[in-house]
């Protein structure tokens, strides 16, 4: 009998404790608040351009088109026979061996014309064939911008930064 009574008491006490614990848990919630946010930004460092050439009436006309997804700056070297005459329309400036385009080229956009004329090149039996070689280089604008911020980006040391365009948008 004594054992049975003890068991009853323990069981009743356990039930009461459990009920108190449930109430106690509910009574101890805390006041709180929160807010979250997330953001991303992409790095674009790739650049891709193509040379478009047209030959007509002893004149080669060259334009450079941005075929990539990032703004680029370009320069072009045109090499040919003595007497070849190279001229650039709006935006082209010559410095050393290269012609620099003074505008940032957005994706899909082409430069204005660079023309190489061989009208004045003397032709003889021994000298009646020659090549006009066009070399173009492009650098993604973010890399040029980083170079101008003082970062050593490894761009060619002979690249004339003074002839590269400056964009007005604060972020590019």
């Amino acid at each position: 009998m004594k054992k049975r009574n003890r068991k009853r008491i323990i069981l009743i006490a356990a039930v009461i404790t459990l009920m108190y614990a449930m109430c106690a848990t509910m009574a101890n919630a805390y006041f709180s608040d929160y807010e979250t946010a997330i953001g991303r930004a992409r790095i674009d460092l790739s650049g891709s351009t193509t040379i478009n050439e047209e030959w007509k009436d002893k004149t080669k006309t060259v334009t450079i088109q941005n075929t990539g997804e990032t703004d680029v700056v370009v320069r072009v070297g045109i090499y040919g026979p003595d007497g070849m005459d190279v001229t650039g329309t709006d935006g082209w400036t010559k410095d050393g061996d290269f012609w620099y385009y003074d505008q940032v080229l957005p994706p899909g956009i082409s430069t204005s014309n660079l023309t190489a004329t061989v009208e004045k090149v003397p032709v003889s039996e021994d000298y009646n064939e020659f090549d006009i070689i066009v070399v173009q280089e492009c650098i993604p604008y973010p890399v040029i911008a980083a170079e101008k911020e003082g970062i050593d980006t490894g761009i060619p040391s002979d690249w004339n930064l003074g002839l590269t365009p400056a964009k007005s948008e604060s972020n590019r």
Binding site: D33, T36, A37, I38, G39, I43, R172
Partner: protein, 259 residues
């Protein structure tokens, strides 16, 4: 004997149920008593009872940008919108992260900041890129809030990686109070532009194409901010219960981060 045992079990069950019922009834009676108390008012004894309401905003560059899962929000939950999706390595951008008390109750706050790189996976979805170093994403601490000695304290127990950091602040008093900036500038290390490989190929026009491939081209920097606030009443229990930390304590309106 069997009958006695059965009777005894029944008695136990009945007694237990009766004890539980008594407990519940006592609680209900207590609540009813409070609700049905006679309407005797005294100017000295009358007091307005108001539930505490906390509210905190996540601020970026002076604007509330955070959001909550219950859609009660001031912002759209987007950071870095001023970068317009792109940025220049090495350039310093304004990025001020702070907290604002949007209720009329004092509260303690903390901000959890995470910075990391992301790459587009095979299915085009952005995933965390653990091969790229988050230390190349630089955040500058606010001038008035030098962390660890000023208004914000870093919790060393929760600062587990370069990318995840927990900061604690003292109380935000009064409505519309804005904390000192936790951080105020963002920059990606310019040396990422030097991580290059070169490829040579010929195109269909017979031209030789030399391509430089930048390792970080097409990668994304990602910044997450999470501001949390708790009550100033009984704060140490709230800190343990709500934030789950044991080395942060409150006293005299300040939070102290222990080792």
């Amino acid at each position: 004997m069997k009958n006695n045992k059965t009777k005894s079990s029944k008695r136990t069950i009945i007694l237990t149920a009766a004890a539980a019922a008594l407990f519940l009834i006592a609680g209900v009676i207590g609540a009813l008593a409070a609700g049905n108390a006679p309407d005797i008012r005294s100017d000295d004894l009358e007091a307005d009872f108001q539930l505490q309401h906390l509210g905190v905003h996540l601020m970026e560059n002076g604007k509330a940008v955070g959001k909550r899962s219950d859609n009660v929000q001031a912002g759209n939950g987007v950071l870095l919108s001023q970068l317009k999706g792109k940025f220049v390595p090495g350039r310093v951008y304004e990025e001020r992260i702070a907290a604002q008390n949007r209720s009329d109750t004092d509260q303690y706050v903390r901000i959890i900041l995470k910075k990391y790189w992301q790459t587009a996976g095979r299915d085009g979805k952005l995933v965390k890129d653990t091969e790229l170093d988050p230390a190349l994403i630089h955040l500058t601490y606010g001038e008035k809030a030098a962390y660890n000695t000023g208004a914000w304290a870093i919790n060393p127990r929760e600062h587990s990686t370069e990318s995840d950091t927990y900061y604690y602040r003292t109380s935000l008093k009064g409505s519309d109070t804005v904390s000192a900036d936790l951080v105020n500038r963002l920059k990606v290390d310019g040396k990422i532009v030097k991580d290059i490989t070169e490829e040579k190929s010929a195109n269909s026009a017979g031209q030789t194409v030399i391509k430089k491939k930048y390792k970080y081209d097409g990668k994304y920097i990602c910044l997450e901010a999470d501001v949390q606030s708790i009550q100033t009443h009984n704060p140490n229990k709230a800190i343990r219960g709500e934030w789950g930390v044991t080395n942060v304590s409150a006293a005299d309106g300040s939070l102290t981060v222990g080792e």
